[in-house]
Symmetry: C2
Subunit: 121 residues, 2 copies
Amino acid sequence: MIDRHGIECCDTVEVHEDLCKIVTETMPSEDELYDLAELFKVFGDSTRIRILYVLFESEACVCDIAACLNMSQSAISHQLRILKQSKLVKNRREGKSIIYSLADGHVRTIIAQGREHIEEA
Amino acid sequence: MIDRHGIECCDTVEVHEDLCKIVTETMPSEDELYDLAELFKVFGDSTRIRILYVLFESEACVCDIAACLNMSQSAISHQLRILKQSKLVKNRREGKSIIYSLADGHVRTIIAQGREHIEEA
DNA sequence: AAAACATATGAACAATTATTCATATGTTAA
DNA sequence: TTAACATATGAATAATTGTTCATATGTTTT
């Protein structure tokens, strides 16, 4: 049995083909897989996770977050942009400041599940 | 008010300092933040997500997974190594093959939450 | 109006990473 | 033992990404 890369494959052909059939049926679309990976990439940076932990406690403006995390305004602003693009965070203007807050309950759940996994392992 | 980067910060000093205090208390340790980010990075690649979707259906050997996803054996093997390091996947030998399977229920939960978030947005 | 404040953003650089290619390791069959 | 099979892995390359620096945008105060 030869796959499309020209590599011979192991001999359990029946199981093999059944599995491929089921998988191609249940696998999300290319677009959705891409979006999913993009979403998890956003969680894959400790600066962004720290920002989310700040917002777990309270909404906050950019300079508050920067001060709490002891990082530059620019770095935080760039990261907030990414968090906002993936709709994990929303913002509103209040005078000169822009106040950021969590957009969604999923953020907490996803991070909680991640921590559980790590603690178990 | 000047933060440690020498940038002037906004004027709401009281709220500001209270928030910083609470945040530093509730924020996980540096090590745990790093581990968390590392874990989510693993989900942040569509090839690895596809591999997980294969394993949602059934345990499978490397060449089965490669064939299902139409990718090279080497690419899949490299990615399985990363999935195993983060304990999302486990393996056992069976003759010439190495059979991979999900290590944990958290994998399904985390991916399900991710999909929910995307569908809502 | 100008000055000060708060945030956003483009360019650049360093660091990380996914895949390919070649090859090594380990298992089974002849 | 030798050949074939299944998987793992090191090196190399291309692509992505986080931060800094400089500067732009938008708001408020004087």
